[in-house]
Symmetry: C3
Amino acid sequence: MYRLCCSTLVGFLLLFSVALVLAADAPLSPATEECVDCHSSVHPGIVADWKRSRHAAISPKAAMQVQGLSLKISSKKVPGQVLNTSVGCAECHTLRGDAHKDTFEHNGYQIHMVVSPDDCAVCHAVEREQYSRNIMSAAYRNLSGNPLYNDLERTILGKSEIKEGKLHFAPADPMTRADGCYYCHGTRLEVTGTEQRDTDVGELVFPVLKGWPNQGVGRVNTDGSRGACSACHTRHHFSIETARKPYTCKECHAGPDVPAYKVYATSKHGNIFSAMEGQWNFDHVPWSAGQDFTAPTCAVCHISLVVGSDGEVISKRTHQMNDRLGGRIFGLIYAHAQPKSPDTTIIRNKSGLPLPTDLDGTPASAFLISDQEAAVRRARLERTCRACHGTSWVKGHFARLDNTIAATNAQVRTATQLMQTIWQKSYVQGVANGGSMFDEYIERRWSDAWLFYANNTRFAAAMAGGGDYGVFEDGRYHLNKSIMELNDWLQARETMRR
Amino acid sequence: MYRLCCSTLVGFLLLFSVALVLAADAPLSPATEECVDCHSSVHPGIVADWKRSRHAAISPKAAMQVQGLSLKISSKKVPGQVLNTSVGCAECHTLRGDAHKDTFEHNGYQIHMVVSPDDCAVCHAVEREQYSRNIMSAAYRNLSGNPLYNDLERTILGKSEIKEGKLHFAPADPMTRADGCYYCHGTRLEVTGTEQRDTDVGELVFPVLKGWPNQGVGRVNTDGSRGACSACHTRHHFSIETARKPYTCKECHAGPDVPAYKVYATSKHGNIFSAMEGQWNFDHVPWSAGQDFTAPTCAVCHISLVVGSDGEVISKRTHQMNDRLGGRIFGLIYAHAQPKSPDTTIIRNKSGLPLPTDLDGTPASAFLISDQEAAVRRARLERTCRACHGTSWVKGHFARLDNTIAATNAQVRTATQLMQTIWQKSYVQGVANGGSMFDEYIERRWSDAWLFYANNTRFAAAMAGGGDYGVFEDGRYHLNKSIMELNDWLQARETMRR
Amino acid sequence: MYRLCCSTLVGFLLLFSVALVLAADAPLSPATEECVDCHSSVHPGIVADWKRSRHAAISPKAAMQVQGLSLKISSKKVPGQVLNTSVGCAECHTLRGDAHKDTFEHNGYQIHMVVSPDDCAVCHAVEREQYSRNIMSAAYRNLSGNPLYNDLERTILGKSEIKEGKLHFAPADPMTRADGCYYCHGTRLEVTGTEQRDTDVGELVFPVLKGWPNQGVGRVNTDGSRGACSACHTRHHFSIETARKPYTCKECHAGPDVPAYKVYATSKHGNIFSAMEGQWNFDHVPWSAGQDFTAPTCAVCHISLVVGSDGEVISKRTHQMNDRLGGRIFGLIYAHAQPKSPDTTIIRNKSGLPLPTDLDGTPASAFLISDQEAAVRRARLERTCRACHGTSWVKGHFARLDNTIAATNAQVRTATQLMQTIWQKSYVQGVANGGSMFDEYIERRWSDAWLFYANNTRFAAAMAGGGDYGVFEDGRYHLNKSIMELNDWLQARETMRR
């Protein structure tokens, strides 16, 4: 406590000068001044939020003069029209106007509503390039362009109907898709026309955007680019603090399919974060282990530029993310190595299905990274562990994770064997007899096993997430229960047939 | 960060003077001084908490002199006995003593234990009046006085027994009811006698209160009034900060029936709140969008007096709450328009049941607000959205919500059709053949569909709550799974009968 | 807010002097200096974390001079080698070297990796002694040494296999056990050999530890002692603030079996904590109710030394914990009185099973504390309640809890009767006909009833945890649903047999 107070006092003096430097350096462009004139009254929240941002406080030119690891602009050259002023409304929303199909005339300016990763790349080129290798950037296509996942989607989002005493699921309507899976995966934005609106400042014409609003990680933008930086760098403060806190990741990683946040929040790391976050520094770049934070958040392990107390780099910044992940513990239907390409629609398993593993667990190895590459990626991740843990600890942890991946894959194998018996005996229709793998109750209990319970168990192992998510909270207790139910259901059907 | 520090320093100077003003203005009444003399030792937590409150710091007389939107006392006239001192123990616990059946003699004073909304209304008349139109104020009666909900309650809280090989549920005992549904709905408080207790200051007599403790929103008080202001304005600090944070709403809106908190905490709004709440101001009245907070909490959208950066009112304060809600997305059994009266026991659907919709989805329109009124209420809510979102965003969001309400209602229709078939074939007893709608396993899977999964999906849509609560976390994945199970169960029974 | 700021300013002056006192008093030992020289670069997170600790700031000799309730060292005598310096790396990791099987030569020092409760007891003897009476200290043996729990463990963690059309579960491998149940219960640490590693400073030899890493509460250490103080007093800051916040308890009490954190976070107490924790003082010893905190955390009720505003002791510090708990609401399979001995493997119920209750609900009374002792323990707990609640409130609360314990036990009785019928009719194999109680689907629905739903309901009652955890969120709605499913399953089997 006393350390916090002392540093706060020192902070006053230091930060006053920082504030002066920043404030002095960032005149608004005339265009942005015009925007702010109206919008500070029409959209006070947006303008106030932006005014709090580093974008408002410093020009790219000044920001590019930062030396060493604190440099935040990765583009070597920034065009003149956004170089010398603060990065305001007009700078982003008029940038690359010809590329955006939603560009429209607005009080004398050519504005586009949706700012895309390619716009951000004008200053942050390296991050945009890294992100294009992130599987998340392809999240729209990876779901919408995979016939098998489409079928799963139909049985989740689709409209149920009873026809001639039988239950059917029709594909979901576009708005349900946007409200469901594509909330996180990202929608495809399309300009479908224009409309005139009666605003406070008179009649104005705006484009009509299908798929809007959306800030999904794989959003297909009006300039054809993929992704939404604002998914994590929340508009219009674009605060590094927000992006570095695990609440941001939670928005899409809350559910039992990818229970990252829940498991983290229950782990010792999450415990320390929750208890101590008020005393940490979430703004420093680079981010110093032990100094700025005392336990990792999601960003520490998978994204941020992290240094030790002597300033030595522990981890380079990445927006690819899976270059700091050894494997993919998300089961489809088994855990497997990371795909080589962010586009997973190209994957075919030995049965010809667009799945990274086969129903018997065989990985579609031609489409997945090699063991050697997986080891390199895990070694990158381990460097962060070692800031606070000895070698015995780290080795023991990952040996246990590997064991849990193998053990949960084996359990999924048992569940799948039972499911295959049920399909073979035609108690329900599977793919082989012309049906769906996902549209019957007992098939859903099978998908519960791999999509929820095996995943929870692996995430708990991966994050040292405590016994509960590995056991009683969607963990092994439930994984074996789903196997028991598959068996019980099968036995009951056998009995009925006799 | 630097802004925070600067404002903190400025805050010191400003707040010192505020503190002096407040402190100077609030002498304790002689009665309260007597209370505090004993109770600061007997109940140190209560007294310390109150001393931190605005009630301790300012007299109603001084508080009434506040001009403009910062005024917190809404009564035009406050009686002399509570006007000139701090609002202390005696001021509230002796107020309107004749009206309270729990009033008792205590060291020379006529004290009542339970302070009611009608007591608070002495200073806060407008809020009390608004709250009487809030459906929550009738929460006790709306549950206990509705025979159909009573039957559901019996199958949830009731004691199970096996008689002659059959499973029965008896109505729950009063303490189970108080510990279960009525914890939030509120209990009916009744004085059942008095008891003598040996206290630190000798033998004293106290009333015995049935239904106590309770702070449910629809509590029936000893003066006949309904509600408990302390449900949200937690005693004895009665902090506006606490009431404005979503943790307060969570106390009753945590479960899968009304998953408001969980969905909020996973939404982008909740993400920003969690990451930034330490930098927000939760005390300012009025509450300035963009200045005091940068994302809405529950209170921002549904209750608080919110202004823009120019001080213009965006939303008036309300304690009715559903005047800033377009519809009721809580399915009974379908989502429907808000009821006209807070007393929902008067509602009858076309089948004569006390339900706002029929089993086929027809709304009990005579008892529900009109489309026009619903549009007015939604427009009030949208004003808050527009502080940070453009018109395209807001229109797109609500179009998607309307679509999701329709789609989930359709799914509930399918689930209900399957349930009705099961009843018609007498596989289990429904209302038509003299049974209950809620006391068999498969009936509970039907109630899961509308009470949990359809509700989760709608709350996720309403709050842009992320894909998970709309899909894998009690969302559409589970809604369709419950429909599949109803169908599977029916098929199995058909097979067995053959 | 203004109070916070004022106290912060006063805090500056006060804490500067405290900082000087602390800083002046704690020279590093030469051995620790050597450790820090390398490890501040090799493990910057560990060293930085420790430097923030009280251990780094004060020597035991100085700490022992603290008078009154603020004294943190409970040992009357501390050996010379750790008396006069800060409590650094070498002080703990070389302490009692002969007792530790993992002691190894490391750059001229005899180091052991795992610091045990017996090491901590050199300064904190009383806490260690109390903890040895805490049932958690025996958590490894209580699970691994109980044949019935072993069988449950096998069906949860065990590997499933289908042999000749039948489903079997084999006991889990050691790493799955360590990753599952024993993450919280604690592993047994064993030195299995040594290994040479190529480190930054050349080749070094380290012991190989089976069961490592682990910080479970009942860990069996290399010196034979049981427990891990670091389970709650997180290394290497060992911050009292962390231990006092409920996030620490959450690590093992998150799941539906012991849903303590979830229920707390949803209760009014949790609501106040979440809204106000930033304004509380988590460092003060003793901890003053109303001054330092305004609502209890887990530690307030069950562990910490708590005083009133006049400094009078409300609760003495305990690390036994169940001396401030009236009963054990965790059902095995019914809620029951606290066991007399922390070693629960000695318990036998009237059927001879190692369970604290019988299948019909009869408690194994000879092994459980008496009603009188339970009343004494509850009275200790109630002293904390009374800091903020009147007698009527406290009596009403506990009467309701007792009623809920009885009511949920009765529901578990019904579930068990149905299960026993299923066993008697040999629809699945139970213990009586040579099978397991836990390896069939319908048996798992029975264990759901008592392990999850009855427990949730009781925790909600115990912590005034709101209606949801007692009703719709793993509460009574689901308890009765599981009973309905047991009945439905039984009826279906009866129909099939006909």
